[in-house]
């Protein structure tokens, strides 16, 4: 897994997965959307503890390769300021048969969201902002 400060190009990422022995590619793109828990979002920023995020991401990908009969898997997470519709995270999994590609792709994104040290700060229309999951906890 990589952490990227530049916008993700899903076309190039998808192409990087081409493999003549693979029959299936499943990809996930996480996009910046305009509402979170009812609050209107205008922009957000992701901040990563990059060295650990990349190590933890590689562990997740190795786990997926051991659990599921896939050919390849990759993941990239964007950091920095993002706008509506930007890709925050991309995951791609190739395999011979499609079922395992769906399972592995979902496994990888679920684990990335749970385990990799990457944080999101949302900026709202009303001027407020906050780190998701970190506010009002003591």
């Amino acid at each position: 897994m990589l952490v990227s400060e530049i916008p993700l190009d899903s076309s190039a990422l998808n192409k990087s997965m081409v493999n003549f022995s693979a029959g299936a590619l499943v990809t996930f793109e996480g996009w910046v959307r305009n509402l979170n828990e009812g609050k209107e979002v205008i922009a957000l920023e992701y901040e990563a503890y990059s060295s650990m995020a990349e190590k933890e991401g590689l562990k997740i990908i190795e786990e997926a390769k051991n659990k599921f009969k896939i050919i390849d898997a990759k993941a990239v997470h964007r950091v920095g300021k993002l706008n509506l519709g930007d890709i925050a995270v991309w995951v791609g999994v190739s395999s011979k048969h499609r079922g395992v590609a769906f399972d592995a792709c979902e496994y990888i994104i679920d684990e990335i969201k749970t385990r990799t040290p990457i944080w999101k700060k949302e900026h709202y229309v009303n001027g407020d902002s906050g780190w998701v999951n970190c506010e009002h906890k003591h």
Binding site: N36, Y46, E47, A48, Y49, S51, M52, K55, K113, T114, R115, T116, P117, I118, W119, K120, K121, W131, V132, N133, C134, E135, K137, H138
Partner: protein, 80 residues
Amino acid sequence: MKNITILYFAKLREEANKRDELLKTEANTAIEVFNFLKEKYNFSLSEDYLRVAINDEFAEWDDKITDNDILVFIQPVAGG
């Protein structure tokens, strides 16, 4: 006396108002370091709500720290 490095991210970075610091400490465990810094910066997040990483790996709060360790207090991640 140990020399350790603390890296701050996200909300704790804002509360500490710094990205990193070198600390000379007699603390033996990660939780001792955290308690000292929580009081110093008045962090809004308690250890129940955080995890600690030592040298890029998740660790336990009562793990021993050694000279030149890099500590990070890991807030709940973006999730969702």
